[in-house]
Symmetry: C2
Subunit: 157 residues, 2 copies
DNA sequence: CTTTGTGCAAACGATTTGCAGGATG
DNA sequence: CATCCTGCAAATCGTTTGCACAAAG
């Protein structure tokens, strides 16, 4: 765990970023999570035990990390940005019921043919977003009638 | 053109929506555009000649149209919602330079295998977002070095 | 005539910004 | 020690809401 810390410090330094406790904490937190937290979630998580950082600092840390390519912004819901320390190409799965977001390995769908685009468009890269039910929410998929459509009216408004 | 208007009116009525000049205008505007305008763009466009609608009304019209399934919200950039009267399944192309958004026919990429998802995830639907250069921006793609990376610093900040 | 929509302005929530003090290299 | 970061609070910007008046059916 000490080594992980060192690795993170090296990474930050190698990108020309000053290493501050806050910046370190934000990046370490993102690296340790598989969900794609919002700023608020990161802030809450970091300050759980004792105050480590402020909101504005999270924003600025994320911006710095994003500028050097260590972190990525993910837009899947309206209103909030989520962040991801997985900067490799990958797709996303988004649970329609609980909103959980999960990465999907890039080569799960490698059959996209950008050459199928109409002439004139020059595709460089792409990303697939899958909507569906995650493990927990899919369990009750026998009685889907009530379960599945819960959020489309409440979350939506 | 009179007929188109009637069709729109029929469509709105058939969905149980009252037909008001503003609501009509918003829907007609969306139907006539292939880009995916923001609220501000719709408002500007409608009020170009003379005042037709207010901001709050655009929002409420869009919400009503969305609730009955005539309009869809599209999230591709941070900070703004865009709207689309094409509610059929389709993918999106997003120009990395000018930000233009264009629909891609659903069957352009029909080889996605949702069964490739890891066990436990239950994929229902998906959408592909392609990033690249549109016709206009792709023209100068010979001299891509300077052209392509223009917006990542200006738009981004 | 009843119900629903419109428009204004105020409220809201996520994100950004200005600035003074503090930490990093 | 110069530079860059932090944290607070105020400012911004997209979106939502409350309410009085107007229009739709």
């Amino acid at each position: 765990m000490q080594e992980q810390a060192n690795t993170i410090i090296q990474t930050l330094r190698s990108k020309g970023l000053r290493v501050t406790p806050q910046r370190f904490a934000v990046y370490a937190n993102l690296l340790s999570r598989i969900d794609h937290p919002t700023v608020e979630q990161i802030l809450t998580d970091l300050n759980k035990d004792f105050p480590v950082s402020s909101q504005a600092t999270i924003y600025s840390s994320l911006q710095a990390l994003r500028e050097v390519g260590l972190v990525r912004e993910v837009l899947l819901e309206e209103g909030v940005s989520r962040y991801d320390a997985n900067v490799q190409l990958h797709h996303h799965f988004c649970c329609q019921r609980c909103g959980a977001i999960e990465d999907i390995a890039w080569d799960t769908f490698k059959c996209i043919e950008l050459r199928n685009l109409r002439p004139g468009l020059h595709g460089e890269t792409y990303e697939v977003t899958v909507q569906g039910l995650c493990d927990a929410c899919g369990e009750g998929s026998n009685s889907r009638n009530e379960e599945v459509k819960v959020d489309s009216e409440q979350t939506d408004n």
